[in-house]
Amino acid sequence: MVVNPMEKSLYLPKLAKMTKKERFTEKEMFFEFRFDDNSNLNHRPGQFVELSIYGIGEAPISISSSPTQQGYFELCVRSVGRVTNYLHNMDVGSYVGIRGPFGNGFPFEKFKGHDMLFICGGLGVAPLRSLINYTLDRTKRGDFGKVYILYGCKNNQEWLYQKEVEEWQRRADVETYLTVDKCTDSNWKGNVGVITTLIPKTNFDVNKTIAVICGPPIMYKFVVLELKNRNFKEENIYMSLERKMKCGVGKCGHCQINNVYVCQSGPVFDLPTVRKLQEAI
């Protein structure tokens, strides 16, 4: 047995203070957090934290800000359970517990020199925003070629990061394509249809583009099919997968897909790896 003398608990969070809060939609809110010692979270885009509120519980939340944003980190949280509902009702200035960052994150070093195609479905934009903003950061922008952002949500009321999406739309070095599943609003003049309908409309070069996908579980298979129709190479397709992640440290067993723990080997996988995991998508 490996003996490690460190008397440390893997489960003790570090306190972070909520410094901003903004409602995006009926269900989703945006939060900014800072540690009192001004330290950085030191995460990679694509990683997640375990956010805890003593007496309520703990929940895995993907990190939504780029590591180039120093001194704070941002989360976009949908209220779906005890912890997230409680968090939505907390005031700016309150403290939460943070463990992490956990998971592998995106291998962005490998993406250098490539064009980037981001495919975000609904709340999937939250983790991808971390990588998008990293790619678009002026200190990193030169590392990447063209940037395409495809973003779809249920209807015109469901947009997250709306102001930033508008900025992406204005930028000359980014092609942004938006779609809504159903048009419930006469003001919506854009594309109507699921996210896959945007792929044939995007003029990327399959030989030098990396596709990064995140969205609801149902989305992946269809997006992959559509990318394959465009002759996308499997090894250039990456995705971030959602699973129940109770501990974040590869112990509790909940996030297991076949022989991997998503909190350890994921949540980011390339398509060839996903192909070997029968349960993945």
Binding site: M1, V2, V3, N4, M6, E7, K8, S9, L10, Y11, L12, P13, L15, S52, Y54, G55, I56, G57, E58, A59, R78, V80, G81, T84, Y95, G97, P216, P217, E242, R243, K244, K246, C247, V249, G250, K251, C252, G253, H254, Q256, I257, N258, N259, Y261, Q264, Q278, E279
Partner: protein, 338 residues
């Protein structure tokens, strides 16, 4: 291997010595069956027990274990470690192997779970060679005898026991008794005991063994038998509960009546339960019982094999005995390999 000869009186003295510095846990009678419990006196120990209702894991990773204590109004929390030294006495080879797997699980990926490891590092394991009972299938998963994972291993020989030494700590304890080194004949008797035992294990995988069963599971992803099992399985999680290598857990917060002081606890969880892989959005990644049985069997016989170097199932047979509808890993494996 080093070995000493111990009489039953020596063992009695050993246990009584241990009680001075350890919480001594051993197999005791529980109604018509046996269970591991802290013993009051040496005579409580059931040397001839078949197997216990629950495996000894409950002392190392308890069903309900406090990880943190917190005070909500101050946003304060501190970890809680139970560092009571525990001596686990009378463990059969399968249960010893199971604890080795728990050690691996709680320290893999460079993530050291001190809540488990603190207890484990202070613990003492004294094994006891066994006779097979109706449900055993240890020979198919390579856990019929233990070569390591114990401090002392007791093997019945004429008028006493051969005490095989696994660690320095174990040797120190035996030496203190003033026991004499075992003669070659005792080692031969012990070998004979194990050979006889192995012959008596009749429940077996027909076409695979401990090293090849993972390949069978890998090939059997789409086997129709999973669907057949779905018709029988009640998804009650009894198999998880009694399994010596099931370590999955859920984490929950509990607060006292002040709503201010509370504890964060981990609670045994089971992959056969419907909510195990269900996320906040309502998506359930293993909604069907057939998926969950397949997951559990793979986890015991395939998924962890590469990381833990053997099947995590140790063939103790507790799950078969606990299962209301008698779902049996041996039958499953033999059906898959037909």
């Amino acid at each position: 291997m080093q070995g000493y000869f111990l009489t039953l009186d020596d063992i009695k003295k050993l246990v009584e010595d241990l009680k001075k510095s350890y919480k001594v846990v051993a197999p005791v009678k529980k109604e018509t069956r046996y269970d591991f419990a802290e013993i009051e006196k040496f005579e409580d120990i059931q040397f001839g027990y078949d197997t216990t209702i629950l495996p000894p894991k409950k002392f190392l990773t308890p069903p309900l274990e406090t990880l943190l204590k917190f005070k909500r109004s101050k946003n304060e929390a501190e970890p809680v470690f139970d560092n009571t030294p525990i001596a686990l006495f009378g463990l059969h080879p399968c249960d010893i192997k199971a604890i080795k797997h728990l050690d691996q699980a709680f320290s893999e990926n460079n993530n050291y779970d001190r809540h488990y490891l603190n207890k484990r590092e202070k613990s003492l394991i004294i094994g006891l060679e066994c006779q097979p009972y109706d449900y055993c299938f240890c020979s198919s998963v390579g856990s019929t005898s233990a070569k390591d994972g114990f401090d002392i291993m007791l093997v019945p020989v004429d008028n006493g026991y051969l005490a095989e030494i696994g660690t320095e700590k174990g040797e120190g304890i035996v030496r203190k008794l003033g026991a004499k080194k075992a003669e070659d004949s005792a080692f031969k008797k012990a070998e004979g005991f194990r050979k006889e035992k192995e012959k008596k294990i009749v429940r077996k995988f027909h076409k695979v063994d401990a090293t090849t069963v993972k390949d069978l599971l890998q090939k059997s992803w789409d086997h129709k038998h999973w669907k057949e099992l779905e018709e029988r399985c009640l998804a009650c999680g009894s198999c998880n509960l009694v399994c010596p290598t099931c370590f999955c857990f859920d984490v929950q917060d509990e607060v006292d009546l002040t709503l201010d002081n509370g504890e964060r606890k981990r609670i045994w969880d089971g992959c056969m339960l419907v909510d195990f892989a269900k996320v906040g959005s309502g998506e359930n990644f293993r909604e069907h019982r057939s998926q969950r049985i397949r997951h559990r069997m793979n986890r015991k016989l395939n998924y962890l094999h590469d990381r833990f170097s053997s099947p995590t199932c140790v063939g103790c047979g507790r799950c078969v005995r606990a299962c209301t509808v008698k779902i049996d890993p041996v039958e499953i494996v033999n059906e898959l390999s037909k």
